[in-house]
Structures are given as C-alpha cells and as structure tokens.
Amino acid sequence: MAIPLYGFLEGDTLGLLVLAEEGETVLELARKLQDAASIRVARNDKVDFVYNGKAIDPGLTVAQAGLQALDRFEVIGRGKL
C-alpha cells in the first residue's frame, strides 16, 4: 500500500507529495522526489536521505527506516547534514 509522504529536496522551493512503497529503498524514494522536482532542480547523484534529523542508510527500505504516512523527509547533498 502506498504511503503518502512530504518530500523536501534541497534546492527546491516547495515540498512535494511523494507516494512511497514499504519495500522500496530510501535511495529509490530520494530519486522519486528528484524526478518530481526536476522542473526546478537539476539532478544530483550524490545525496543523503534525511529523516527525523538523521541521514538514513540508502539501502534501508521505507518500512525499515520507520517512515509513516504524512511524515516529512529531506533529500540533501551528500555530507551536508
């Protein structure tokens, strides 16, 4: 079941709704947000996924990272946290 999340990409000017799947990795989710924001922000292949103020292992799934409906996450340039 899709999980609606609020995604914020560094360099963008507004948050976007992203529908995540429990089994997808947070890196895949980060790419999904980048694609959604591609009208405004150039693609950056080196990013960190930030949830609750911490960088999350990109290989963790959405469920493993503990993301729940209507949570907020950020995607920022790698090492900027």
Partner: protein, 171 residues
Amino acid sequence: MRATSAYTYRATLWFDFVMPSPAERKWLRQKYPKYWDDMDAVWEHVSERWRTTGPGAANELKVHGTAMPTFCDLCQLPLSAGTPRKNTANVLAKDGRKYIFCSEPCRWIFLREPERYANHTELVKRVLSGEAPAQLPELLTEYFRLTPETWGKDVYNGAYDWLTIPKASTA
C-alpha cells in the same frame, strides 16, 4: 520561493506569469546577495527547460510541475517558506492526527486554537480522502473548475528574446 513555485504550478492559478529576465535577476542578486544564488539556480533550470522544449502554447505544460504540491494545514498556502537550502515546513502529531505547517508562526497560531483549525483539511488531505482528484489535469478542471482558457500561463509562452541569446551574453 513562492514566485518560483507558483510559476511552475501556474496552471493551478487564474493569472499569468512572467519569468525574470537576466537583467532582473542581476538586480535581484544585488538586492538579496545572501539568498539569490539558490533562487537563481531554480530560474536558470526552468529557463533551460524552455530552451529545450522551445516556446509556444503547446509546450506550456512541458514547463510545468507535474507532482502534487503540498500545503500548510494552517494558512493553506504551499509549503514554500524558508529558503531552497532549508524549507521550514514542520510536522505536528496531535490527538492521533498529523498536521504540517509551512513555518513556526503557522504552527504557533494552530496551537493557540487547535479546535478552530483541526478540521480545515488542506488540498493533499482532500486528495488522499478521495474528495479531490489526484491527477493534475482532473484536479484543475474538475475540482478547481479551471480550463485551458482560464488557467495561468507564461505571458509569452516561453518566447523570450533572452532565451535565444547565448547565456554568456546575457549575464
């Protein structure tokens, strides 16, 4: 933040937009030296999209956001406060529900009178509940009652002289 966001979602509004020219962006850089570089990168990226697609009314929606934008549970405006480096949107879990606010002031106002605002659902929650369509074309036409004749566009449909001039000459 809001001008750039609105430009890339102009079809959700009922008025037209103009992109800032290189000369106007230069002026804005002088006025806002701390923040303008981040904003300018966004305008440059949007400009590049027009360069790629070419001007014309038929290309309006190719230079437009497609993902669902998000909105503040208090002021109902898009979550576009702060800067491109740090959006100030913040989530509040209260009484078994989650709320999101564009800024600390909106959160503060909500917490003064939560009972007044708790049931004011913003657009995302209306989409998630099925009250509003999830796809942008249907959202525009069926829910906002906009039409291609009435929704917002780029005033010049991307036909700016400066877009055809090599970038080095426009800086």
